[in-house]
Amino acid sequence: METVQTYKREEPATKRLSRLHPIYKDRHLYLMLLPGLLFFIVFKYVPLYGIVIAFQDYDIFRGIRESEWVGWDIFKEVFAYSDFWVILGNTLQISVYKILFGFPAPIVVALLLNELGNRYFKKYVQTILYLPHFISWVVISGIVLTIMSPTNGVLSIVYEWFGMEPKNLLADPTAFRIILVASDIWKDLGWGTIIYLAALTQVDPSLYEAATVDGAGKWKQTWHITLPGIRNVIVLLLILRIGLLMNAGFEQILVMQNSAVLEVSEILDTFVFKFGLQQGNYSFATAVGLFNSAIALILILGAQWISKKFGEEGLM
């Protein structure tokens, strides 16, 4: 009789234990997790009780324990606000446009950056691309106002070229939305490429060599090697971005909106800020925050499910 002899040493006790308890086997991994978990418990879970403010008529001095419980009243108040559905619609619309145009843009630019041969050029270009990210919306909106000025901005020159009367595009609802999306891309395009560039380094260069040998051109290589290579990162970021759907760009819109475009530019966050926080109404702000979080959860789970159907890993 021949038994397949695998090289087997005498099993030390710890090894035996490892085979019985997967947790013990991975004890070092759990140890690594410990500080992080502590962090989450202390700074995220402990304060979580603040969510109840959304269900209370919160009074700072009575505190959470003694403030009056009002159940869903705050939510009802929010939904009953005459323009609520318009505001919700604006939030979704602006966000969807931003995702549609703003999500692919950094990917494309990252791919193009990857093609640059000259290291110095690449380095300088990258640094320049990042710059707008560091400038606050207050300043950038001022610059946008200057460029779009019908009296002495760049735009007025373009208008005159075509022999037309310069218009104040920022006061035009449709144009305003386009400007919102465009300036958002302008600001964060460069910064958005960072993660994709890092992802690109994980793609095996030998695959490109093999593809060239097989006669595949640049486009084919991009489609069959590069994109699949960073697909997991793209899907992750897309799911997260969809989850952030309710964030249409608070700071940007707050400084850029004006009376003529309010009906398309008032979003949930600006609404809550003006009517909730600035009035000292924490319950209001917390309620809308909770609403946003709930929607985000549904969206992310949905996106995750869809991605799994396509065979992707999704979030995890």
Binding site: P22, I23, D26, H28, L29, M32, L33, P35, G36, F39, F40, F43, K44, V46, P47, L48, Y49, G50, I53, I60, L112, L116, G117, V125, T127, I128, L129, L131, F134, I135, S136, V139, I140, I143, T146, I147, N152, W186, I194, I195, L197, A198, A199, T201, Q202, D204, P205, K218, N232, V233, L236, L237, L240, Y282, T286, G289, S293, L297, L315, M316
Partner: protein
């Protein structure tokens, strides 16, 4: 022949694209820089500012001679360096174990952490927790409570999963423990993601404003963005008896502040570039 002409054309297009895009991206910073170098009384927000309308260093003189500015720099540097370190340690510590599919309870822990990304208790309870930990008026409050970003952690997990398992397995067969694998194999091989996430954390700390206002009262611990913000004087505060400074104007200070907070980052960034190349080695280790 055809191929080279096409490739030359596409190369040209590529460089042209980046030159144009670069100019467009550079413009906001250029505007800010030119404005900050103009005479504060004559500079106009309503102009394109392609060059300083009336060159003057008075705004920079004003801002750079305020000792308070350097307090801000000092504190922000401390918070950025140590805060990023803490963030990276905690994030890597969580990301690596969670990247292992075989970890027992992975889904549970993952959900636990992910949940905090969507739901949080708000400013008041967080403040109370920080207060009870005696972190108010300590720079710790600017480094610890916001140490881990789940977003960043998720990205890191993705990257760790991309590390070829053969490497880890062979190391384990040679008797390596989890710590060894993490510190000697995984981390060195993830140069690109380390640099990226590290940069994201660092920039986030550097630009941070609200926590610096909420958790710090001691002027000696003020961070840069709070200091810069304080230098802006809005004239809509009417009835200021006697504050009739000609040294600068709020707009000019705002612009100079942007330049002052960006320049250190620009100075440091080139050093991070090399890490992106380091990660390239990973590709050749495969297979």
């Amino acid at each position: 022949m055809n191929r080279t002409r096409r490739t030359r054309f596409s190369v040209l297009f590529l460089y042209l694209f980046f030159i144009l895009t670069g100019i467009v991206m550079l413009y906001p910073f250029w505007y800010v820089l030119m404005f900050s170098l103009s005479d504060p009384l004559r500079a106009s927000v309503n102009k394109l500012n392609l060059y300083p309308s009336h060159f003057s260093l008075s705004t920079y003189k004003y801002v750079l001679t305020q000792p308070f500015l350097y307090t801000g720099f000092k504190n922000t540097i401390i918070v950025t360096v140590f805060g990023t370190l803490i963030s990276m340690l905690l994030t890597i510590g969580c990301a690596y174990p969670l990247s292992k599919e075989s970890l027992r309870g992975r889904k549970f822990l993952f959900s636990l952490i992910f949940f905090t990304m969507l739901f949080n208790g708000g400013l008041i309870p967080t403040y109370i927790v920080i207060k009870q930990l005696h972190m108010i008026d300590s720079l710790w409050a600017l480094m610890v409570p916001s140490a881990v970003s789940v977003y960043n952690m998720l990205i890191m997990i993705k990257f760790y999963k991309g590390i070829p398992s053969e490497l880890i397995e062979s190391a384990k067969m040679d008797g390596a423990g989890d710590w060894y694998v993490l510190l000697r194999i995984v981390v060195p091989l993830s140069g690109a993601v380390n640099a990226t996430i590290g940069l994201i954390y660092a920039v986030s700390r550097w630009n941070e404003f609200l926590p610096g206002v909420l958790y710090i009262n001691d002027q000696s611990k003020r961070v840069l963005q709070v200091v810069l913000n304080g230098m802006l004087r809005e004239d809509s505060l009417a009835n200021q008896p006697g504050l009739q400074d000609l040294a600068s104007s709020p707009e000019s200070i705002k612009m100079a502040a942007v330049v002052i907070s960006i320049v250190p980052i620009l100075a440091v960034y080139p050093y991070l570039q090399k890490y992106f190349v380091k990660g390239m080695l990973l590709g050749s280790v495969k297979g």
